[in-house]
C-alpha cells in the first residue's frame, strides 16, 4: 500500500463541488430527511449537500448503494470492492479507485493485490478467481452491450454462484452510477494514481 493511497481516506472532505451545495439553514424537511440530518448531527459533506438538491433521488439511492455494497451473505464484500475498483479505474475516477482499493485491502489484509493492480492495471497478476471477477467487471463497465451468456462461464468455473454473480453485477453497475456523479458534479481532489489505468 503506497502512502498516496492511504491519504484518501477522508471521503467527502476531498471533493470540490461545481454545483453550490445546499445551505442546510435553507433546507426543506424532505432534504433534511434525505440527508438524515438531526439537531445533533449536522456534519454533512459537500457531496451529499449537492445531491440533496434532488432529495427524492438521494433518498432512494443511499439505501440502494448500501444494499448492494453491504448486503449480507452472497459475494464477499472484498470482491464487490474489486468490482468497484475495476469500474472506477476504467471510468477515470482515480479517487474512487483509491478509496475502494483501500477498503479491499482492509477486508482482505492482502495489500500486495492492490499494489499490483495499481502498478500493472489490467495485466496485474491475480489469482484465477479474482482474474475472472476483474475481467467481467471491466467488460461490463466498458460496454454492457457485448456481455453475453458465455461471460458467465469463467465466473462459474471459479465457483461463483448465481447470487454472487448478481451481487458482482450490482456492484459494478453501481459504480457506473457513482463514478458518473462524483466526476461530473464536482472534482475529486485526488492525486493521480501511479501505474497504468485498467
Amino acid at each position: 500500500m503506497s502512502k498516496a493511497m492511504r491519504d484518501f481516506t477522508h471521503g467527502e472532505l476531498d471533493w470540490r463541488p461545481w454545483v453550490a451545495p445546499l445551505d442546510l439553514n435553507a433546507a426543506t424537511e424532505a432534504q433534511l430527511v434525505a440527508l438524515k440530518v438531526t439537531p445533533s448531527n449536522r456534519a454533512v459533506g459537500a457531496y451529499s449537500l449537492v445531491l440533496a438538491h434532488d432529495p427524492e433521488a438521494l433518498s432512494e439511492r443511499s439505501p440502494l448503494y448500501n444494499g448492494i455494497m453491504f448486503g449480507a451473505k452472497g459475494l464477499p464484500r472484498a470482491d464487490r470492492e474489486l468490482g468497484a475498483v475495476a469500474a472506477s479505474r476504467i471510468n477515470g475516477c482515480a479517487y474512487c479507485a483509491s478509496v475502494h482499493a483501500l477498503r479491499f485491502t482492509q477486508l482482505t489484509k492482502e495489500p500486495e493485490v492492490m499494489e499490483r493492480v495499481q502498478t500493472d492495471g489490467v495485466d496485474a497478476a491475480l489469482d484465477p478467481r479474482r482474474r475472472a471477477i476483474l475481467d467481467y467487471s471491466a467488460k461490463l463497465t466498458r460496454d454492457p452491450a457485448v456481455i453475453g451468456p458465455a461471460d458467465a462461464a469463467p465466473l462459474r468455473a471459479q465457483g461463483l454462484t448465481d447470487l454472487e454473480i448478481l451481487d458482482l453485477t450490482h456492484a459494478v453497475a453501481m459504480f457506473a452510477w457513482a463514478n458518473r456523479l462524483m466526476q461530473t458534479l464536482g472534482e475529486p481532489a485526488a492525486l493521480a494514481l501511479e501505474g497504468n489505468p485498467l
Binding site: 427524492e56 433521488a57 439505501p63 444494499g67 448492494i68 458467465a152 448465481d162 453501481m174 452510477w177 461530473t184
Partner: protein
C-alpha cells in the same frame, strides 16, 4: 416479500416466479430501492424544472448510445406518451440540433457523461446552468444519466444469467 414483476424483471424478460426473479428477491433492499429510484427519477413529485418528457428523452438517448435495444424501446414508448407530437423524440433519434439552447445543452451533457465520465469539467456544469437549469435540475439530470448507465449494466448481467441458465 413482493413477487410482483417490476421494471427490471420486465426489461430483462423475467416472469413472476422464474428462477432469476426469485434470485433477485434474495436482495429485497436492492429490488425495493432500484424500483424506488426508477420511480422518483422518472416520475418525481417535484421535477425541479426537468420535465418528465425531457427525462424520458434523455433516457432514450442513453439507451441508444449503449445499444440497449430493449431499454431504448422502453424509453421510446414512455416518451411517446409524454411527447405526443414527437418533438423531443426527433432530436434524440435523429441526432439533430434543435433551436432550443436549453435542450441542446442537456443532450450534450447526456452524451458526455455517458461516453466519458472522466472528461467532464466545471464548464460542463456551467453550461447547463447558463442554459437555465436550476441546481435541482442539474442534480436530477446527473442522477438520471448515472441511473440509466447503471440500469443497462444490471440488465446486461441478468440477460447473461438468463441466457446461461
Amino acid at each position: 416479500m413482493n413477487d410482483a414483476i417490476d421494471v427490471i424483471d420486465m426489461l430483462a424478460g423475467l416472469t413472476a416466479g422464474s428462477p432469476l426473479a426469485h434470485l433477485r428477491r434474495q436482495r429485497p433492499d436492492v429490488v425495493k430501492h432500484l424500483q424506488g429510484s426508477d420511480d422518483v427519477i422518472f416520475s418525481p413529485q417535484d421535477d425541479g424544472g426537468l420535465t418528465r418528457a425531457e427525462r424520458a428523452a434523455a433516457a432514450l438517448r442513453i439507451a441508444t448510445l449503449l445499444r440497449d435495444v430493449v431499454l431504448s424501446e422502453h424509453y421510446r414508448a414512455r416518451l411517446a406518451a409524454l411527447d405526443p407530437d414527437g418533438t423531443l423524440a426527433r432530436t434524440v433519434e435523429g441526432g439533430s440540433r434543435t433551436t432550443e439552447p436549453r435542450w441542446d445543452a442537456i443532450l450534450a451533457h447526456v452524451d458526455l457523461v455517458t461516453r466519458g465520465p472522466g472528461s467532464a469539467d466545471r464548464k460542463d456544469i456551467d453550461n447547463l446552468q447558463a442554459a437555465g437549469l436550476s441546481s435541482h435540475a442539474v442534480v436530477s439530470l446527473s442522477q438520471l444519466i448515472a441511473y440509466v448507465n447503471f440500469q443497462s449494466r444490471v440488465l446486461a448481467g441478468l440477460r447473461m444469467l438468463k441466457g446461461a441458465a
